[in-house]
């Protein structure tokens, strides 16, 4: 695990293994999710991988009725909007992620601050497989 480069490719591969990972600067301790290969506080380049606990709360959201082709393929459309948002993790950093288990057609029922738990959505097969980072209410 330590051998993986601190970049988006590794971040995506970890997601595929059901892990939400960030990098921590060995010198000054700053945490970055997604990972960075250099620290933008002290410019050190010695990093270590840290796994997030996967708990957080909803910082903001939107319910999307007109989505990109890959979301339309999953069955979302103008009648079935999906929810996506920004999640503030317990570790103090934020991530953007899909929000599952909330009704995109009833945005007034969705509340900022809702406690959430991470979920990994595996889609596609073989070379086309990808994992989407998602969160669901606890």
């Amino acid at each position: 695990m330590e051998g993986r480069p601190f970049n988006d490719i590794s971040y995506e591969r970890f997601l595929n293994e059901d892990k939400l990972m960030g990098s921590r600067c060995s010198k000054c301790g700053v945490l970055s999710v997604p990972p960075r290969s250099i620290c933008i506080k002290c410019y050190g380049s010695e990093m270590e991988w840290v796994e997030m606990k996967g708990k957080g709360n909803l910082a903001t959201f939107t319910c999307i009725a007109i989505g990109p082709p890959f979301m339309i393929k999953e069955g979302y459309d103008r009648k079935h909007p999906y929810v996506t948002g920004v999640v503030e993790l317990e570790e103090g950093v934020r991530v953007v992620a899909r929000i599952e288990g909330m009704d995109g057609s009833k945005p007034e029922t969705i509340k900022i601050g809702t406690p959430l738990q991470v979920e990994f959505l595996h889609r596609g097969e073989g070379a086309n497989s990808t994992t989407f980072l998602a969160f669901r209410p606890l």
Binding site: D8, A59, T60, T62, I112, L133
Partner: protein, 421 residues
């Protein structure tokens, strides 16, 4: 920053033109830019010999994706008969031609060139809405795209955060939309050259002609609350909160201060320019403002020695209604959390104390992304020269106007301040 920034020498805007903005199945980028250029030539009071134009800077974002053709600098320079003079394309997503303008200013201020054409063009409407949405999303961060964010989605999430922090709501966004349409009604170049009231009347008329019961909207807000008339795109962004898909071009002619009088006696100087860059949505400390716009504004105000209250009119990047509210706060016109109140009180209308987006803004004038930055400056040019016709603002001694652009999800933000002297 080491010491105060300054321009090496003064730069004036002496001509400005734009094509009509809209969705045109029979007009391409070259045709549209020619239209803008032709109008620009007619606005130079004492005329310009095109042989004197030293270089072209051209903003364009997505033509590679939408029309499968890149390298637009030389295509446009050849179109205008400029070759072999240099042509440079700038890309800063929806702020692409604001960057072209800035490069043109630097090129003259450095002393290298004396006369520079800057502009932008975009041809977007020949693709499906889904494809355009996907193409524009290329300017978001990769994490946002994967999480399913679209551009309306990013601004929807900002609006959700803004509402929660300041207690504003959809009704306040509607005030922006209604104002934009009222202004665009007076702008013949606008894509939606109609008020919301006009649209309501058209729908009522259409229903009557079909023998259907006409819709009974009491006012504009009731129309905008009607999910059939104004469906959700990315909550709380509805159709009428979003700028359209547009084709269009715009350009302005920049010259060195020393020779400006050879072109016109009505001089508009570039007194402030600023640019900032921004982080992805997940890395923003606060989702209710754009750090990059605040940075660009600080830079432009410092260069000009002007304050937000000195700016009498402004075109701001209202790609979505919430963006207009956030920008007028970020530019210091109103305090954070008070922009929506200013719009509600009518301060940003044509006759208000701080008219915003007199052109109708991106929402109604249209948003051919690469053409928008210099397109905003065409409006400021017209207003400062008193040539905006029916939508001329009734401000006495109108001297200072500004244009603010935003690219991507706030990744590139600019502010340009022009002053008539």
């Amino acid at each position: 920053m080491r010491g105060r920034r300054k321009l090496g020498r003064g730069v004036a805007v002496v001509g400005a033109g734009m094509s009509k903005f809209g969705m045109f199945s029979d007009k391409d980028s070259k045709y549209l830019f020619a239209e803008a250029f032709h109008e620009m030539l007619s606005t130079v009071d004492k005329g310009v010999d095109t042989k004197d134009i030293d270089a072209l800077y051209l903003g364009n974002f997505t033509n590679d994706f939408f029309v499968r053709q890149g390298h637009w600098g030389p295509i446009i320079s050849d179109l205008l008969g400029f070759a072999p003079k240099p042509a440079t394309r700038t890309e800063g997503a929806c702020a692409s031609s604001a960057l072209a303008f800035r490069e043109g200013v630097f090129a003259i201020a450095s002393g290298f060139y004396d006369v520079v054409l800057v502009g932008g063009v975009e041809d977007m409407s020949k693709r499906s809405t889904e494809e355009v949405t996907q193409g524009l999303a290329m300017a978001a961060s990769p994490y946002e795209v994967k999480a399913g964010f679209t551009f309306p989605g990013v601004f929807g999430a900002m609006a959700t955060a803004y509402f929660a922090k300041y207690g504003a709501g959809r009704e306040h966004l509607m005030n922006v939309t209604i104002k934009s349409h009222n202004n665009a009604r007076l702008n013949p170049k606008a894509q939606f050259n109609v008020s919301i009231r006009d649209i309501m009347n058209q729908r009522i008329e259409k229903a009557k002609n079909k023998g259907e019961p006409p819709p009974a909207w009491r006012d504009e807000k009731e129309f905008l609350r009607d999910p059939k008339a104004n469906p959700v795109v990315a909550w709380p962004m509805h159709l009428y909160d979003c700028c359209p898909i547009s084709d269009g071009a715009s350009c302005v002619l920049l010259v060195a201060e020393e020779i400006a009088k050879d072109f016109t006696d009505s001089l508009l100087y570039v007194v402030g320019i600023g640019q900032g860059s921004g982080k992805g949505l997940h890395a923003k400390e606060d989702l209710t403002y754009f750090e990059a716009t605040r940075y660009a504004a600080k830079e432009a105000y410092e260069l000009s020695g002007l304050k937000p209250e000195d700016v009498q009119i402004a075109e701001v990047h209202d790609c979505f209604s919430i963006a207009e509210i956030v920008h007028i706060e970020d530019l210091g016109f109103f305090k954070p959390g008070e922009g929506y109140k200013a719009v509600e009180e009518g301060l940003t209308r044509l006759g208000g104390s701080k008219p915003i987006n007199t052109s109708g803004g991106l929402k109604c004038k249209g948003h051919p992304v690469g053409a928008t930055g210099t397109g905003q400056l065409v409006e400021i040019w017209k207003q400062l020269r008193g040539e905006a016709g029916e939508r001329q603002v009734p401000i006495k001694d109108l001297r200072v106007g500004a244009a603010q652009s935003l690219g991507g999800t706030g990744g590139t933000c600019t502010l340009t301040i022009l002053e008539r002297r």
